[in-house]
Structure formats: structure tokens, C-alpha cells
């Protein structure tokens, strides 16, 4: 256990004598590792965006020959793995890992070396996945459904590399989650009861537990796939005791859980930002926190929503629909309370707020569309059409890109001591918003009206979807430019941004109590936590004291 009382720290305690790269490679500090995760994730966001643009260029005109069918399938597989395993999950975890220990007033993490191993495994996984460029990337798609992913149908080692790469990264994420759970459980500052935990730290708790449950399920499935491919296993082979549907169940539990995790991350971020910038407490805090936990459970139980056209019993399909529709209540309550927090407040619309508000709006479109697609018979039309792609992208780009960028703009001053460029941030926001709407709204129509299928490397002019696809490709290019602007903004502002104090936004939670960037031990002293808004308590107390002193000074004036 770390000491939780104020302690003396000598000046110049941390003197680095090693080069920066050696520091980063050996550090177990949660702030350094969090930044490694966030920076790598931003790099892979750029790569994923390039891959999406290449696929959309192939789909710009009917029967295009820009990419070959195999080339397209490889791009698709890389895009899926990059955007989920190398961008979205590490981006969310990076913020959790950096911010949550600060928010609870911890001086470090409980299992720092486990977290360090986790980050190393993620980097190793990313390396394996991209080393496939030297031979053959996977061709099996975003979720490589067995038996297509078996050696009988894809005999080169692309799928093996995919399984090893995503497996290493997932194992790394589980390690990070275990460390986060232990830290949040054991290292909270004095007075930081669960009920006073900042919402973002609660989102970190829920997400970490979720990852500890779903991560090993994917790892088990990947192990079975590797045994099938390399040691003549029969887990996912039909006949002889295997079952292709088993892969679908196991992988969809993981992917659905990940979807929920990213939404929980986004809502945690948005809740902090909305409350801070309207200078109000989060409306119905306890309800929001309970809803986040409910989303994790119900959402993951809705995994069969992805299997509504598979030969599973109609009862299971109704169960999936029930779970998906039940999600309407926690999601609805979260959205209601986030918006209600704005009411009566004084909102300062800085860049983090823009991204947060945009994220709410885009996530609402994605979730509402998912709702329609969870109605069983409706899914019999919409499943695996571009309407499903559009719904997923609205929810996940809304959560991981807009929500993630909201977190970036909000916590960047804490991480670097510099503020991200405000006007470039605003331009980036509007460009991303326009790109997302232009890029993915047409796909709803292409999927809903014409039933254009997903993952296909081309389409035919006779299908009446050409116009939709042209617009969509243009939109994705705009989206790409918007994302690039924020990445460039971050690179530029890291050294040249305007200096930020320790508390640039007048935040209410403990991470704003320490320096920007914080010292390696995070806090020299900690206040006693008596409410969910410890920093506001301090500001109020200082205000009271100042007023009292002024009044006393007035009273002591001699009467003339």
C-alpha cells in the first residue's frame, strides 16, 4: 500500500540520466505508459483511416478495379484489427490508465509491472499484425468467421498472424485492466468512497471488469482457432464434434463487450467534460453510474444480436432482442442525465465540449439504428447490409474518435502542460462531424432500401447504389482530413501549445490538483475528500475565507 498521508519529497527527486527512449521502454509509471498507449493509438488511428479511405476509393464507382478482391479483403481485415485492437481499445485504456489513478488521488498503480507488461504485449501484438505486410495479411474479414478462417480455406499464415497479434494485444489489455481494478480498489485517497468516485474513474472500473470477463473469452477462442489451424484441431470444423457457430458466439461476446466498453469510456469522458464546463455537478450521478454498470452487463448479454440470421433457436433470437431493447433504459437515462446536466449551467463551449456534444449526437444516431436492427425480423433484412456498417460506425466513431478526442482535448493540458490549439480543434471537429454524416448516412439508405451487402469489394451499377457510394467515399475523405487535423494539432501543440496551468478548466476532480504534467509520484499532498467534487470544495473554502477576512477587515476599520 502506498502512503496516503502527505509526505516530504526532496526537490529534484526525479533526475533522468538516461535517454528518453530508454526511459519509456523501462518505465512502469502509469502516466508514461498511458501516454505510450495514447500516442500509439493515435498513430494507428491514422493507419486505420488510411485503410478506410483506400477501401472507400475502391467502392467509389461500380465494378472498380483499384484493389483486387484479395487486396480488398486484406485491407478489410487489417482495418478491423487496427481500428478495434490497435486504436479504439488502447486509446480508451490509455486515458483510463493515465487519468483514473490521478482522479482517485493514488500515487501510482497497484501492480505497475503488470501494466508495463500489458503495454509491451500490446506493442508486440501490433508489431506482429503489421509484420504481416512482409508476407500475407489475413483475408478473413473484420471478424474472421470459422470455417473461412480455417486452414482448409485460407492456408497461408495471415490468419495465424491475425490471431497472434490480436491475442497478444488482448492479453495486454487484460493485464492493464487487472492493474486498474486493483488500483481503483486499493489505492483511493482518504475519504474517496466508491460513492464519491469521479464518473470517469467509475467508467474505468466498469470497463476493466468487463475486459477481465470478455478478454479471456476471445483468448480462448483464438487458442482454439490456432489449435484448429496448426494442430489438426476440430473446434470449429463441422461434423466430428466441432461447431462453426461456437466461434461466432465466443467472438461476438468479445466484440459486443468491446462496443459497450467504448461507449462506457465515451460516456464517462462526456460526463466529466459536461459537468466541468457547465460548472455543475453531474445530474443524477448515482443513476449514471448504475446505468454504466448496467450497460456493461446487458450489452454483453446482447451478443446474439449479431447472429439473428444464424441457425439458432427463435427463443435465443428473442433473448438477444430483449437484451438489446432493455439497453434503451440505461442508455436513455445516461443521455437524459448528460443533457440535463447542461440545464441551469453556464456552458463554456471550448473544444472539449464541442467534441463531447458531437459525440452524444453521433452516438445517439448509431444506437437508435442499432435498436431498429435488433428487432428480429427487421434484422432479417438489415443484417450484414451497409446499414449495419453505418450504425456501427456512428456509434464507434462517435465514441472512440469524437469521445476520445474530447478526452484528448480535455486532458492534454494535464499530460503535457500545453493546451491543444483551440481554432484548429474547432475546424477539426466540424470537419469530422461533416465527414461522419456525409460518409455514413448514405450507407443507411444503400443498406435499407437496396440491401447493399457489407465487406464486398465491389458492387454493380444495376443495384442503384452508385450515388450513395460516391457520396460516402467523399465523406470518408473529409473524415480523414478532420482526424488528421487533430493528430497534427497534438504533434504541434506538444511543444508549441500555449502553456496551461495545473487546472486550466477549473475542474472538480483530483487530477487537476497536481501539476501539469504531474511529478512521477503524482501528489505531494492530498486534500481530504468529502464529496465527489473535492477541488470545488477547496475553491469554495478559499472563497469563504477570503470573504470572511474581507468582512473582518471592513469591521476593523475605525469608524470615522
Amino acid at each position: 500500500m502506498s502512503p496516503s498521508r502527505p509526505e516530504l519529497v526532496a526537490e529534484g527527486y526525479h533526475v533522468s540520466r538516461r535517454p528518453r527512449w530508454a526511459e519509456l521502454a523501462t518505465t512502469a509509471d502509469h502516466k508514461e505508459l498511458g501516454q505510450v498507449l495514447i500516442c500509439s493509438a493515435l498513430g494507428f488511428l491514422f493507419v486505420a483511416a488510411v485503410e478506410l479511405v483506400l477501401m472507400r476509393l475502391q467502392l467509389l464507382v461500380p465494378e472498380n478495379t483499384f484493389l483486387s478482391p484479395v487486396g480488398f479483403n486484406r485491407m478489410l481485415s487489417l482495418y478491423g484489427a487496427t481500428s478495434i485492437f490497435l486504436f479504439a481499445l488502447p486509446f480508451a485504456l490509455g486515458f483510463f490508465y493515465y487519468v483514473a489513478p490521478l482522479q482517485i488521488g493514488a500515487r501510482g498503480t497497484a501492480l505497475p509491472r503488470l501494466g508495463q507488461t500489458g503495454v509491451a504485449l500490446y506493442i508486440a501484438g501490433a508489431t506482429v499484425l503489421y509484420a504481416t505486410f512482409l508476407f500475407t495479411p489475413s483475408e478473413a474479414g473484420i471478424n474472421p468467421l470459422a470455417p473461412l478462417s480455417e486452414t482448409a480455406f485460407l492456408s497461408n499464415n495471415g490468419v495465424d498472424a491475425w490471431a497472434v497479434g490480436t491475442g497478444l494485444a488482448t492479453l495486454g489489455f487484460v493485464f492493464l485492466a487487472i492493474n486498474l481494478v486493483s488500483t481503483l480498489r486499493m489505492m483511493r485517497a482518504p475519504g474517496m468512497a466508491w460513492r464519491r468516485l469521479p464518473v470517469f474513474a467509475w467508467a474505468a472500473t466498469v470497463s476493466s471488469w468487463l475486459l477481465i470477463v470478455i478478454g479471456p473469452i476471445l483468448l480462448a477462442a483464438l487458442t482454439m482457432l490456432m489449435i484448429d489451424r496448426n494442430y489438426e484441431g476440430i473446434f470449429f470444423a463441422d461434423g466430428s464434434g466441432g461447431a462453426p457457430l461456437l466461434w461466432q458466439h465466443l467472438s461476438w461476446i468479445f466484440f459486443t463487450g468491446t462496443y459497450m466498453l467504448l461507449l462506457i469510456f465515451a460516456f464517462g469522458t462526456i460526463a466529466e467534460i459536461v459537468a466541468t464546463f457547465s460548472r455543475k455537478p453531474l445530474f443524477n450521478r448515482n443513476v449514471v453510474m448504475a446505468s454504466l454498470a448496467t450497460v456493461a452487463v446487458l450489452g454483453t448479454l446482447a451478443w446474439m444480436q449479431n447472429m439473428l440470421t444464424a441457425p439458432i433457436g427463435i427463443g435465443w433470437q428473442y433473448f438477444a432482442m430483449l437484451m438489446s431493447l432493455a439497453l434503451l433504459v440505461p442508455f436513455g437515462l445516461i443521455l437524459f442525465n448528460l443533457i440535463a446536466t447542461l440545464v441551469g449551467g453556464t456552458l463554456r463551449t471550448r473544444a472539449p465540449v464541442l467534441f463531447a456534444i458531437g459525440a452524444i449526437s453521433m452516438i445517439s444516431i448509431g444506437l437508435a439504428a442499432e435498436l431498429e436492427q435488433s428487432l428480429v425480423a427487421a434484422a432479417w433484412h438489415l443484417h450484414n447490409t451497409t446499414a449495419a456498417t453505418a450504425a456501427t460506425h456512428f456509434a464507434l466513431i462517435g465514441a472512440a474518435v469524437l469521445g476520445g478526442f474530447a478526452a484528448l482535448y480535455y486532458w492534454f493540458p494535464k499530460m503535457t502542460g500545453k493546451t491543444l490549439g483551440e481554432s484548429l480543434g474547432r475546424i477539426s471537429f466540424w470537419t469530422i462531424l461533416a465527414g461522419l454524416l456525409i460518409g455514413f448516412l448514405p450507407l443507411f439508405f444503400a443498406g435499407d432500401d437496396q440491401g447493399q451487402v457489407v465487406d464486398a469489394y465491389n458492387y454493380f451499377d444495376s443495384a442503384d447504389v452508385t450515388a450513395y457510394n460516391v457520396i460516402s467515399s467523399i465523406g470518408v475523405l473529409i473524415l480523414f482530413v478532420g482526424i488528421l487535423l487533430t493528430i497534427l494539432n497534438a504533434i504541434f501543440s506538444r511543444t508549441n501549445g500555449p502553456a496551461a496551468g495545473h487546472d486550466p478548466w477549473a475542474g472538480d476532480t483530483l487530477e487537476w490538483f497536481t501539476l501539469s504534467p504531474p511529478e512521477p509520484h503524482n501528489f505531494d499532498v492530498l486534500p481530504d475528500v468529502r464529496s465527489p467534487r473535492p477541488l470545488r470544495d477547496i475553491r469554495e473554502a478559499i472563497g469563504h475565507r477570503t470573504r470572511r477576512e474581507q468582512a473582518a477587515a471592513r469591521e476593523s476599520q475605525p469608524v470615522r
Partner: protein, 234 residues
């Protein structure tokens, strides 16, 4: 989507219900967000009201959402059940299907990257499926290799053909003509060209089609056997 079977009529209705529900939710959230942001911008001298929450309001919103979700669930079950019903064969349909329902049982087998259809009399066809007008047809989906999804939007629900599993769907076409379809689960390299076509014809044409198909297949078989027995490579 232009539904041409009783099942897809129900699917279409449920799609419309789902679309309306989704639209209501999107408009409600975004309108509330828009007005809240517009109304509660920061102003000089204004102090934020420190509202913590309201239990009554929360119960009301929760109850409203629960009612909305329950209603959607009920509608979902009702229309899904209707869409699953075995349609009855009409007067214009195949005569033998009227006395005994589901006499037209066709096997659809997905294989990389082609659909094969086996008819009750032993005839088969590739790519194109011929079915009689206004007659209940049961399609049994099978796969010999990877997962494929049989997808002819206007006639029948989308359904997966999974190796080692059988998956049955029923439909009855209410219009003669050609219906384009495809496969909608990534199945490898030539997935995008794995298309199919359903030709809905009159019962007489259907009967003659499967008869001709059968005799032609038998003739081709006899010819192959004859050639081999004569010692020639076919």
C-alpha cells in the same frame, strides 16, 4: 425494398416501425441537446445552479423508456412471429401444394462461390432458383464449406447456411418475375460475385421446368456413361 411475399410484408412493416422509433429517439436526443446548449451558454455574471438530481424526474424518464422498450419488444415479437408463419398456397398456386402444405421443399446449398438448388424430383440447378407462383416453398439452407448468407430481400428473410447445420425458411411469392439476390457474409475471394436469382413462374411452367431439367440431367448423365464405356474421354 419491395416485398413480394407475406413474410417480407411483415418484415417491411417491422422495418417501418423500427425506423419510426429510431427517428423519434434521434430527434428527441438531438433536439434536447441543441436547446440545452443554446439556452445555457455561459454569460457574464450568471451563476450555475447546483442541481444534484431529481428522483421523481428520474423515475418518470425511466418508466417512459421502459414502456417504450416493452412496446417495441412486443411489436418485434408479434411481427417476427407473423413473418415466420408458413404461408398457405393460394388458388393460383401449385395444385398438389394445396392439399398437402409444404410439398415444394427445395435444398439450397452454398459453396464457394455458387448456390445450388435441388428440387423435390431430383432435378437441380445452379445460380437460378425456379419456384411456382403463390405457393408455399420451404428452402433448406446448407453449406459445403464456409458460412454463406442466402439473401433475396424481396422474397424471403435473409438466412445463414452454416456447414453442419440445416436452416429452414419458408416463403410464397405473390408476383411472377425475376428477383435478384446475393450472398451477404464474407466467404472469401469471389464473395462479391456470389449472386443468385429467383424466377417466379406459373405452376405449369415450374412443373415443366423441373421435368425438363431432370430429363436433361439424365440425358447428360447417359451421354457421359456412354462416352466412357466407348472408351472416349468425355
Amino acid at each position: 425494398m419491395a416485398p413480394h411475399s407475406p413474410g417480407t410484408d411483415q418484415i417491411d412493416t417491422l422495418l417501418k416501425i423500427g425506423f419510426i422509433a429510431a427517428t423519434i429517439l434521434v430527434i428527441a436526443v438531438n433536439a434536447a441537446l441543441f436547446f440545452a446548449v443554446r439556452r445555457f451558454r455561459s454569460e457574464r455574471g450568471a451563476a450555475p445552479r447546483q442541481l444534484l438530481g431529481s428522483r421523481g424526474l428520474q423515475f418518470r424518464v425511466g418508466a417512459l423508456l421502459t414502456v417504450f422498450a416493452t412496446l417495441l419488444f412486443i411489436l418485434g415479437v408479434v411481427f417476427t412471429d407473423k413473418a415466420r408463419e408458413t404461408p398457405s398456397t393460394g388458388d393460383a398456386g401449385l395444385a398438389s401444394a394445396k392439399s398437402e402444405p409444404l410439398t415444394v421443399k427445395i435444398k439450397a446449398t452454398g459453396q464457394q462461390w455458387l448456390w445450388r438448388y435441388d428440387y423435390p424430383n431430383g432435378a437441380f440447378s445452379y445460380y437460378k432458383l425456379v419456384v411456382p407462383f403463390d405457393t408455399a416453398v420451404e428452402l433448406e439452407l446448407l453449406s459445403t464449406d464456409v458460412v454463406h448468407t442466402w439473401n433475396v430481400n424481396d422474397l424471403a428473410p435473409k438466412a445463414d447456411a452454416v456447414p453442419g447445420k440445416t436452416h429452414k425458411i419458408v416463403f410464397s411469392a405473390d408476383q411472377e418475375g425475376d428477383f435478384e439476390g446475393d450472398s451477404s457474409t464474407l466467404s472469401g475471394q469471389s464473395y462479391a460475385s456470389m449472386r443468385t436469382k429467383v424466377e417466379v413462374v406459373s405452376p405449369e411452367e415450374y412443373k415443366s421446368f423441373i421435368q425438363t431439367q431432370k430429363s436433361e440431367i439424365e440425358a447428360a448423365q447417359d451421354r457421359v456413361v456412354g462416352l466412357i464405356e466407348e472408351g472416349k474421354v468425355p
